[in-house]
Subunit: 684 residues, 2 copies
């Protein structure tokens, strides 16, 4: 059986249409008036300023990189550079839509909580997130599906051209995720330190000039940043699988190819290339059903509704992949890979939940009684320990999916992990909407009752965000691994480590690769520190110079704070971007005839270290964050106790780890992998 | 030219004789009387208790491992297991001698400072360290040289038999270094927290029951721990080179062998096997000259004298290696490798000094003004950043030495880095002697003047200790890399990564390998936390229950505290030991016919992550430590200021990082590498 290549982009457009319907249902609600509308408007405008400025910076980088592809790729430069720009645009568009919607949905969630209660509030917040989720998935299908429809059968380099799209997506992710991470933590740390600690006013107090920037930051980091991160992995997983299928097609006669095709149950390598697209198309439909399921359950307990929606659509997706394989006349090898990837993703998510919300958090909170140092050490130890199961899960997923369908199976496992991105991303983006809704309720002084509902939604959002982060790391890792596999296949260098010279070069590569994530961690952490410093100075200045500001009579200049965070997020973004894009180029071309071997080593070293650091940083940060919340609930002396003081420090230490440096690792390895894949023909 | 194989063990015996002369010159000095002698005696006895208990635990492990070698190695099991026991005994003996001497030299340094002034004190402290340095180098020469003399030409498995010696040394290092690290930090944190913070009495106050354990800990960690660590790397580097030479000898006809032998300038592969032993023999003589140089300069400024001694003997060693090569009729290829290794070691040491005593420390101290969280984040960032140059230096050393003499050159670079171990280890061991001398002066209330001299010696010791740590990591990394290279050569598996199945297995291995150091970090950090907890409870109990203890009238039960730290150091040592020894066995045998590939991946992943974490942890910890000292000198508000409070927390966070978890990484990777090399014939 064959499937029209038009199906994927058409379903993508359909998904975009559904996203629009969701958006319209939010937009038609009242955005409030007076103070509420004013605050919401400021957050919305701040978010748009960030998006615009990052977009301009991205454009500058994109022109250079796109131009380089155009001129230096001899065989398909023009097509690949067009795909590159399309990828960058698609990711930017998804980010823009998500941010636009999230900063409309936040205030409407607050109002729904006040006027209609929890069910309606959950509905609005989740639909706000769903617009992002569906847009991410749909843009992937439209972009990749459209390119495949246009080029397949017409251009033998269809896989390579599509790599351009993934590279565009990666570039945007780099800026949104890392820049967003710097923005959000600079604003958060700055607003908290001067507002809460020095001036002694509550969190989200309207007198604090940094508070709008702080709320903008939630969206910037967790909507645009997370969305572009997932989008990148989503495209990367599909591209890697397509590239591996392309390599199989090029070796049709070989005995291992024959054996492989027998296993899969087809001889149509074109179908193998199309298969990831077909599966993600099915995945989008499953996500839509999952979203409707959450909607139908929105009057129930929020955490349960979200869980049923996610797990429901994952199960549906796995079943559908078996049906799809059957329909296409394939064996169950590929759907079994999808199953292993999906199960792997769920395990990683659950382990993340354990370390950031389970037993370890309680024992960490107890350590707070012994003081700051003990709590800090214990948090680091939790972070170090938390990497084991996720890494071994990824290893097991690789091992198992290879058994079913060789390297193609590894790519398919990544597709399986990311297939229901529509709903997993929706739940991720729901978090900051709920968080913002609470912030607006506080700033507009809307009373206990409203705040209680938004707090409840926010608490659920925190847990889903932690799980989402673990999942994003797992998916990014597996996608990167698939891309690296495709790179090694494509370069076809003799990566024979029993040849001493190859071994030497590979070792040197591994060492270089291991260093890069550590450097990236240092640079991003220091960027947050410096940006927060600027923010602190500005907030202090306003408290000092604007008359009556602390009595609520003077007007704080919130735009200035947004501006400072945006400046920091763009300026301090350049070094990490150069590191990510520049390393593969420097190694690949710098090692001359051994470039491919050295780069393979660099990618292997960077892959494992990136995943390790990403998990360690995210989980340590999440554990400190929740230990603080646990103490604030009245445990170990509650607010104001020694344990609480220690936990506040722990939380602050964890902030840049979990929201800036940790997440930037996902992007780093994927950018390095896709850049390597794109330059592979030039260094092979 | 050929050299008698008897030379090496004979020079080793000579070295031991010189060490004895140094020891006698210390022992003949008066050990003081009254309180002073009593305190010194307690430290000495505590150290001996630790050594005895660790030795018993080591014996249990050794019997199991030695027995396994005896029965499961079909070809040379009995010989290899004897070598294994000899290696364990040699390392234990070196550790015992070092500890015995250091805990005699400490009080004599104090007395020399009081009675004769700085020059004599430096002389005693440095001679105390030199006994350890010379014993380490000599035991290596006696053991390895003796085995080579006995087996070469008689048993074709001479290289494999000698691997047993290195494995024995590694096992002992594991227990002394990791157990010592747990001991020293449990005692330090416990004594400081209850004594300084809770009871408000100064450091090293005789009323504190934990203070003897704290002083024992300095010796346990930095004499026995560091000594066995260096001894392991020293043996590992030589064994790896011998193994690589053995592999070359087995492929005499191959064109690359012919080309290689041309480059070196000999056809005598037996000489190639002996060459590392010849060079370390020369290195020992250079170290003795360096030590005498320091002695001759002991009346000058201490830092300068130590520096002239180290650099002087390094230069002498490099020059001698060229002369030796010329004498043996070899080309300059091998001495050039020695040069690159020695230079690499110096660069890594200097970079470590920069990050733990230079500009970054000052900016870190400044961050203390912003509070604990900022200081903690900045320290972590410094640690992350500090890995770059050392890792790239190791990579460059590998790259360059390969150019000169292929994989054999990589081993030779490690030999070059470790050749003057006699003096580098002497300077490392000098640190805790000086530190202890200060502690005794304080406890025995010997007055300002004496304390000032011992403080000066101690300050120099802190810097040399930091440099030594960086150097130890670099040397351990290079030695492990050489061992892994030898493992890959020996297994002769087709490590062809273009074969998808190999690639898959290798990836899975890398993931497993990356996880192990993180787990090891978590386990050792938690071990310190739990051990410190026991110590704190005991000191609190004594303060509560012993009448008049805080007025200096009641006698603190210091033995009990030593006992608790020793218990912790043995009990909590078992899990890390199982992890280090068990991982290669589980992977090597667990992956069936792919065991060698999976294990190669595991070693590669563990190697890079171990070095990264070791450097990051040691340097972050060192930077926090010195930032505190810098503030205590009166900067940023001095003692009692907000910056100072923050820096005390930073120092406490850094303690287990720099003295337990960080150093344990060196051992972890070397144990894994040597176990892999030993089991290579069984899984190939």
């Amino acid at each position: 059986m064959s499937v029209s290549t038009l199906i994927t982009p058409i379903v993508g457009l359909l998904g975009l249409g559904i996203a629009y319907v969701f958006f319209a249902s939010i937009a038609k609600r009242s955005g409030g008036e007076g103070v509420i509308a004013e605050i919401a408007d400021k957050i919305h405008k701040g978010a748009m300023i960030f998006m615009k400025r990052e977009f301009m910076l991205i454009s500058a980088f994109a022109v250079v990189i796109g131009g380089a592809i155009f001129f230096f790729q001899p065989d398909y430069g023009p097509q690949q550079s067009v795909a590159f720009f399309l990828g960058a645009l698609a990711s930017s568009f998804a980010g823009f839509v998500g941010m636009f919607t999230a900063t409309k949905a936040n205030v409407r969630t607050t109002l729904a909580a006040r006027q209609e209660g929890q069910g309606a509030a959950l509905s609005v917040a989740f639909f706000g997130g769903s617009v992002m989720g569906l847009t991410v998935a749909s843009m992937g299908l439209i972009g990749l599906g459209g390119l495949f429809w246009y080029f397949s059968g017409k251009n033998e380099h269809v896989a390579e051209i599509m790599e351009g799209f993934a590279m565009g997506a990666s570039l945007v992710a780099l800026f949104y995720r890392v820049g967003g991470g710097i923005f959000t933590k600079a604003a958060d740390v700055g607003a908290d330190l001067v507002g809460k600690v020095e001036a002694g006013i509550p969190e989200d107090d309207p007198r604090n000039p940094g508070v709008i920037a702080d709320n903008v930051g939630d969206n910037v980091g967790d909507v645009a940043g997370m969305g572009s991160d997932i989008f990148e992995s989503y495209c990367g997983a599909q591209i890697a699988t397509i590239a591996i299928a392309g390599a199989i097609g090029a070796r049709l006669g070989a005995p291992e190819t024959v054996e492989f095709l027998n296993k899969i149950g087809t001889e149509d390598t074109g179908l193998l290339m199309q298969l990831p697209l077909i599966l993600t198309t099915v995945g989008l439909l499953c996500s839509v059903l999952g979203i409707l399921l959450v909607k139908a359950m929105s009057s129930r307990e929020p955490a349960g509704a979200l869980r049923v929606g996610t797990i429901g659509s994952a199960i549906l997706f796995i079943m559908s992949s078996f049906v799809t394989a059957k329909y296409l006349g394939l064996s169950s090898a590929v759907p079994l890979c999808v199953l292993s990837g999906a199960v792997g993703g769920i395990i990683i998510g659950l382990i993340t939940e354990h370390y950031t919300a389970g037993g370890p958090v309680k024992s960490l909170a107890k350590q707070g009684e012994m003081g700051v140092a003990t709590l800090t050490i214990s948090g680091l130890a939790i972070g170090l320990r938390s990497v084991a199961v996720p890494l071994l899960t990824i290893a097991a997923t690789v091992f198992i999916s290879y058994e079913f369908a060789a390297l193609y199976g590894v790519g398919m496992a990544a597709v399986g992990m990311l297939g229901t991105v529509g709903i997993t991303m929706a739940i991720d983006a729901y978090g900051p909407v709920a968080d913002n809704a609470g912030g607006i309720a506080q700033m507009a002084e809307m009373g206990e009752e409203t705040r209680k509902i938004t707090d409840g939604l926010d608490a659920v959002g925190n847990t889903t965000a932690a799980i989402g982060k673990g999942f994003a790391i797992g998916a990014a890792g597996l996608a990167a691994l698939a891309l690296i596999t495709a790179f090694i296949q494509k370069t076809e260098v003799s990566l024979n480590l029993t040849d001493p010279e190859v071994l030497r070069t590979f070792f040197v590569g591994i060492f270089i690769g291991g260093v890069i994530p550590f450097l990236n961690g240092a640079i991003t952490m220091e960027a947050v520190g410096k940006a927060a410093f600027d923010m602190i100075a500005e907030i202090r200045r306003q408290f000092r110079e604007i008359p009556g500001i602390l009595e609520g009579k003077g007007e704080p200049d919130t735009d200035r704070c947004v501006d400072i965070a945006t400046n920091a997020a763009t300026k301090r973004m350049i070094l990490p971007a150069l590191l990510a894009v520049g390393t593969p180029l420097a190694v690949g071309f710098g090692f001359g005839s051994h470039g491919a071997v050295a780069l393979a080593g660099t990618l292997c070293g960077a892959l494992v270290v990136c995943i390790l650091l990403a998990l360690m940083m995210s989980n340590a940060g999440g554990a400190w964050d929740n230990a603080k919340k646990y103490i604030e609930e009245g445990n170990h002396g509650g607010k104001g106790s020694e344990a609480h003081v220690a936990s506040v420090v722990g939380d602050t230490v964890g902030d840049p780890l979990k929201d800036t440096s940790g997440p930037s690792m996902n992007i780093l390895i994927n950018v390095m992998a896709i850049v390597s894949l794109v330059i592979a023909p030039l260094i092979a």
